[in-house]
């Protein structure tokens, strides 16, 4: 048997994102953000999106383009302090923002990606992040129910992919990418390098191919990856 080929053109892959879709986005700061796929979402223009992403990037980088174009209705995130536009939209009531503790966001995504319904944790139990959450008494300890998150589409950035969708990430560009790559009905990976089957050692795969639906080879690397000189 041979493994199926999932490589497609970027326009076709991103056309899976319709109005009102929930989209998970990999990346933590610049590393691992799928900048090219994000630009294509801006170009195709689906509206009323819910984004799930660790952070809001910085102004004029990454998902800030989607905020600027008014395509985002809601953002589930952990920290938007580096993006003044996101803060302004939130404070002005034009962007609904749900904040999670960072590891809890990671775990909620992984929970959805693992076909579970949620998990119990005492993280944040004494904070305002507990507000509105279901609590349980577990052996005398109060714990919160954190619900699983899933998305219609997840977009990730890989340093290397094979045509079946096995993915590798590099350095701290891994971050949320392997998690969102588990948790969507359609997982789209952009890859700096697309290799034939066998081009990635089976022990060195970070995201196994069965999780991935579309692989897009990058023709050039976005300038948004450039090292930032502050």
């Amino acid at each position: 048997m041979i493994l199926p080929d999932k490589s497609v053109a970027i326009a076709e892959a991103v056309s899976r994102i319709g109005d009102g879709a929930t989209v998970m986005v990999g990346g933590f700061g610049v590393p691992g953000t799928p900048f090219t796929l994000i630009r294509e979402i801006v170009r195709q223009g689906p509206k009323n999106l819910t984004l799930i992403k660790n952070d809001a990037n910085e102004r004029d980088l990454g998902i800030d383009h989607l905020l600027a174009s008014g395509q985002v209705r809601r953002l589930v995130t952990t920290h938007i302090g580096l993006n003044p536009r996101a803060i302004e939209l939130m404070n002005g009531g034009r962007l609904e923002v749900e904040f999670c503790a960072q590891g809890i966001l990671a775990e909620r995504i992984r929970s959805g990606g693992s076909g579970l319904h949620g998990f119990l944790t005492d993280v944040g139990v004494d904070t305002e992040l507990a507000r509105g959450k279901t609590t349980f008494d577990l052996d005398g300890k109060t714990v919160l129910l954190e619900t699983a998150l899933r998305a219609d589409v997840a977009i990730v950035h890989a340093v290397r992919a094979d045509v079946f969708g096995n993915l590798q990430y590099v350095a701290t560009a891994r971050n949320f990418n392997p998690l969102v790559a588990m948790a969507a009905d359609c997982v789209i990976a952009e890859a700096e390098e697309l290799v034939p089957l066998g081009g990635i050692a089976p022990d060195a795969v970070h995201t196994p191919g069965p999780f991935v639906d579309c692989v897009v080879e990058l023709q050039e690397l976005s300038r948004e990856y450039d090292v930032v000189r502050r």
Partner: protein
């Protein structure tokens, strides 16, 4: 029956084959058929089964058979392996059965007082694969039907089975119960009805033979 079951696999599918009969299904597919075999102990892209003299001591399937990789295989841990199963990334699983009910309930892991080794990964595969088909002899060793109106043994999962391949027939589980779809060569619809412990819908007209 195994050859017929092999046709259940469509191009592009991710498939998990239960221990026993199901693993023999791959022998009936062309070498260039594009699909992916998953095993719950942590491998996507299972290659050929190997004899001991060519085996890698670290490379087995969930049934303990020595297997190999193919270009594009990936190894992962048991949590990731079942994340694939539970999140709907297994398009098809083929399982063995002690009993299947006319509502698609499956019992294949325990016979109280006789056989109770634990369920392994069968419960999640039966409950969470997108499509579950069963490969089994139509009756047990004593000639008792395995297709029943209700299961008598502890369930693996309820309402999960879509189709059953037996030595006598191909039978679908429909909202109105078992429906005969195909017959093995030399078997009559009456033979199948006789060997089935529940109502069996038999279509009018000619029934395809496999």
């Amino acid at each position: 029956m195994v050859a017929r079951a092999a046709r259940e696999i469509a191009p592009g599918m991710v498939v998990n084959l239960g221990i026993g009969l199901p693993t023999r299904v791959v022998n009936h597919l062309p070498a260039d058929f594009p699909f992916c075999l998953h095993t719950e102990n942590g491998l996507s892209g299972i290659g050929a089964t190997l004899p001991p003299e060519r085996a890698d001591r670290n490379l087995i399937d969930a049934g303990g058979a020595y297997v190999s990789t193919i270009p594009g295989s990936a190894f992962f841990d048991s949590a990731v392996s079942f994340a694939l199963v539970r999140s709907g990334r297994i398009d098809l699983t083929m399982l063995g059965a002690f009993e299947v009910s006319e509502t698609g309930d499956l019992a294949n892991w325990k016979i109280p007082g006789k056989f109770s080794p634990g369920a392994g990964g069968g419960i999640e595969l039966a409950q969470k694969a997108r499509r579950v088909v069963v490969l089994t002899t139509h009756t047990d060793r004593d000639g008792n039907p395995k297709l029943l109106s209700e299961c008598t043994l502890p369930l693996t999962a309820s309402g999960c089975v879509s189709r059953i391949f037996t030595d006598l027939a191909v039978i679908d589980v429909t909202p109105s119960g078992f429906a005969l779809r195909e017959l093995a060569a030399g078997v009559s619809a009456g033979d199948v009805r006789h060997a089935t412990g529940a109502a069996l819908e038999i279509p009018s007209g000619e029934i395809p033979v496999f």
